[in-house]
């Protein structure tokens, strides 16, 4: 296998970055309808395959890119979701064009941006340089901003503008944090590029000035935390999810949040490697818990189905951040697992929601009723998806929540009280909405759905399998990462 890879004229790592970049340019440049979607899918698939090869063979260090156990998790997951989403978006966008919400011009723009986004995120994940990572994340933000605003409706522009302003401030804070990290590293490592290279930084972290790192982490936490969507920095997230095209909502929840989280984790590792620093754990745990409970309450008054699930993304990101904040192999393992499961589940839910919105011609919860009767397949998939996201077995999220809650309770019983409280509150809200949407007498217009269920079903199947059985290699690998995260 490795030998075959050796035959490739290029390193897979570069391909993971290059393919989307080229595809972006190509798609932006060329007009065309049908095959642009196909090209989009193809490029995403290729990227995904390239990412898979990273599992088999790691490129040697050096250069701007690097691969280690941690970011491989994110890259593979991200490219996979990117691929499935592109499949979904093909049919979704086609429908949007049929009903005239989008024009062919938009189509070029959309696909171009889609690949640009993929490029930016992969770059952010693979970059071996905190400055480069920062640039990538900013790029990702900009592209998503443009995509969110694509419908040009009043509400869409509202959302995009909000996202843009808050995002930029976040970026600025993150940059300042990055500069501070450099300043902390520079005395120990010396000037220049080396002082911004991950591998070097982590190796040398013990020699850095701890106080400076503390301050830096505050800025990074807030900066990248804005992207993760932690309360109280979350404001952009619900509207951006609700107003953009649904595939973008799926990408946002499934990928972008993870990329930001990945950045946070990197810096957490940096601080963890330095004994003198104030442990970043409590800060993350607090913000995570806050987001969890806050989102749980916000779920109750939602009238828009996509916004509902956007808030549930905030909730789960909070939970993941909390888990990583708790630290320790078990909690970290749970955090990684939870993040993975959440990406899959949430994107699946958004696939379902997109098709529902197209079938019912509305996103208003009040006008969606009795789906299990009018669209059995959609309805039941939504039920399964929500069951999964609510943490019901035998689906994957239950396992991670099980680990998070029980390990938390065993270590800090008092912390578990708000945790469980938040979980129950959120659960109540989700089930309440679900039983209205999925059951009861169907209302309103309802058209048959022609889009393919494949991506959704695939994701749910994965989540179900993971809930029952995790392949040992994956487990070993996650556990290694968990120990890496300390």
């Amino acid at each position: 296998m490795t030998s075959i890879l050796a035959l490739l004229p290029f390193r897979p790592v570069d391909a993971v970055i290059a393919v989307p970049a080229l595809a972006a340019i190509l798609l932006a440049a060329l007009p065309g309808r049908r095959w642009s979607a196909r090209l989009n899918v193809g490029a995403s698939l290729l990227t995904f395959l390239m990412a898979l090869t990273l599992l088999i063979e790691r490129p040697p260090g050096g250069g701007l890119l690097f691969v280690d156990d941690l970011n491989v998790v994110f890259v593979v997951l991200g490219t996979f979701v990117g691929f499935t989403t592109s499949v979904f978006s093909a049919s979704y966008i086609a429908h949007e064009i049929e009903i005239g919400r989008l024009t062919l011009g938009h189509l070029r723009f959309y696909h171009g941006m889609y690949q640009a986004l993929a490029f930016a995120m992969n770059l952010g994940l693979l970059a071996d340089n905190i400055g480069l990572m920062w640039v990538a994340v900013e790029l990702a933000t900009l592209t998503t901003v443009l995509m969110v605003g694509i419908y040009r409706t009043h509400d869409a522009l509202e959302a995009a503008w909000k996202y843009f302003i808050l995002g930029s401030v976040g970026i600025a804070l993150a940059l300042f944090g990055t500069i501070l990290v450099y300043m902390a590293a520079q005395p120990a490592i010396g000037e220049g590029e080396k002082a911004m290279v991950w591998t070097v930084l982590v190796a040398e972290a013990a020699k850095f000035n701890p106080e400076l790192l503390n301050v830096a982490f505050v800025f990074l936490m807030l900066g990248y935390g804005t992207k993760v969507g932690l309360a109280p920095l979350h404001a952009w997230l619900p509207d951006a999810h609700a107003e953009g095209p649904t595939p973008i909502s799926a990408v946002l929840s499934g990928l972008l949040l993870n990329v930001a989280l990945y950045a946070l984790l990197r810096f957490k590792m940096l601080l963890a490697a330095n004994p003198g620093t104030v442990a970043p754990g409590p800060l993350m745990a607090t913000l995570g818990l806050l987001s969890l409970i806050f989102a749980g309450f916000m779920l109750y008054r939602r009238r828009d189905i996509k916004r509902l699930f956007a808030y549930s993304s905030i909730e789960h990101m909070g939970l993941v951040t909390f888990a990583f904040g708790m630290g320790g192999p078990l909690a970290n393992f749970a955090g990684l697992l939870h993040m993975t499961m959440h990406s899959l589940t949430k994107s699946a839910i958004f696939f379902a929601v997109g098709q529902i919105a197209q079938a019912k011609g509305t996103q208003r919860l009040a006008e969606i009723r009795g789906l299990t009767q009018s669209h059995p397949m959609l309805g039941w998939s939504l039920v399964v998806g929500v069951a999964a996201i609510a943490g019901l077995p035998p689906l994957g999220i239950f396992m991670s929540e099980f680990l998070i809650v029980s390990s938390t309770f065993a270590r800090h019983p008092l912390l578990a009280v708000p945790l469980v409280f938040g979980l129950i509150v959120a659960f109540g809200a989700l089930v309440l909405r679900l039983s209205d949407v999925a059951f009861g007498e169907p209302e309103g217009r309802s058209e048959p759905v022609e889009a393919s269920y494949l991506p959704m079903v695939a994701h749910l199947a994965l989540v179900l399998t993971a809930g029952l059985w995790l392949p040992p290699p994956l487990v070993a690998w996650f556990q290694h990462v968990a120990r890496m995260l300390g």
Binding site: L146, G149, I165, L175, M183, Q186, M196
Partner: protein
């Protein structure tokens, strides 16, 4: 030389803080734009001086960008926009100028407290520099939150970003400063002449973010 270099660097950086206060103090649109131009000029000077004392030629590029873009192009663009959109009236502030000034002073104190004790053993040049940069950033943020009007928010954001450039320049031998400053200029360009103001102008007859902000879920 060293002592003088240090003092001048401080002078310029401190100058930026001062100009930030002037920004906070402004309540006329055009005045705001002029002061911002000044802010950019001081930044240019300070970055250039850093380039000189660090023997880091690439910083000159950053300085140039700052000068051209921030001190000339953007203020002019904004001015034209202000004229075109007829929003050259006084700026409404949250809680009055005086209060914001006071808060600003508190923020400067805070940033000093944080940075000086944090970066105690970093080399003094970088340390003071970054401390002042932090206060510029906080002041910029403060401006963004205490101004209702989009243009002044944009200016707040840009002053914040100037603070970042200052910090980046102050960090000895920091790579990518140029790239970062370019990236940021792109960002700012987006904000200023970007899609949104046009869209917004098409759809609303003011860029007053009130119009943008009264976003209600219930309305859909």
């Amino acid at each position: 030389m060293g002592g003088f270099a240090l003092d001048l660097a401080h002078l310029l950086a401190g100058g930026m803080v001062l100009v930030s206060f002037m920004l906070l103090y402004q309540n006329r649109m055009f005045g705001l734009l002029n002061v911002f131009a000044l802010h950019a000029v001081v930044l240019t000077a300070s970055v250039a001086w850093q380039a000189f004392i660090q023997q880091a030629p690439h910083l000159y590029v950053t300085a140039a960008i700052a000068l051209v873009l921030k001190a000339i192009v953007i203020p002019l663009a904004l001015r034209r926009m202000v004229v075109r959109l007829e929003i050259h009236r006084s700026i409404e502030t949250v809680g009055g100028i005086g209060l914001t000034m006071l808060m600003g002073i508190a923020l400067v104190a805070l940033s000093m407290m944080v940075m000086l004790q944090a970066a105690a053993d970093a080399d003094p040049l970088a340390r003071e520099d970054v401390a002042l940069a932090l206060s510029v950033i906080l002041l910029g943020l403060l401006m963004m939150v205490t101004r209702y009007n989009a243009v002044s928010q944009i200016i707040g954001f840009m002053s914040l970003e100037n603070g970042l450039i200052l910090a980046a320049a102050g960090a000895k031998g920091m790579p990518l400063v140029v790239e970062i400053s370019i990236a940021f200029s792109v960002l700012v360009a987006f904000i200023v002449i970007g899609v949104f103001l046009f869209r917004i102008r098409e759809r609303f007859d003011s860029v007053d973010t009130h119009a943008l902000d009264d976003y209600r879920e219930g309305r859909q």
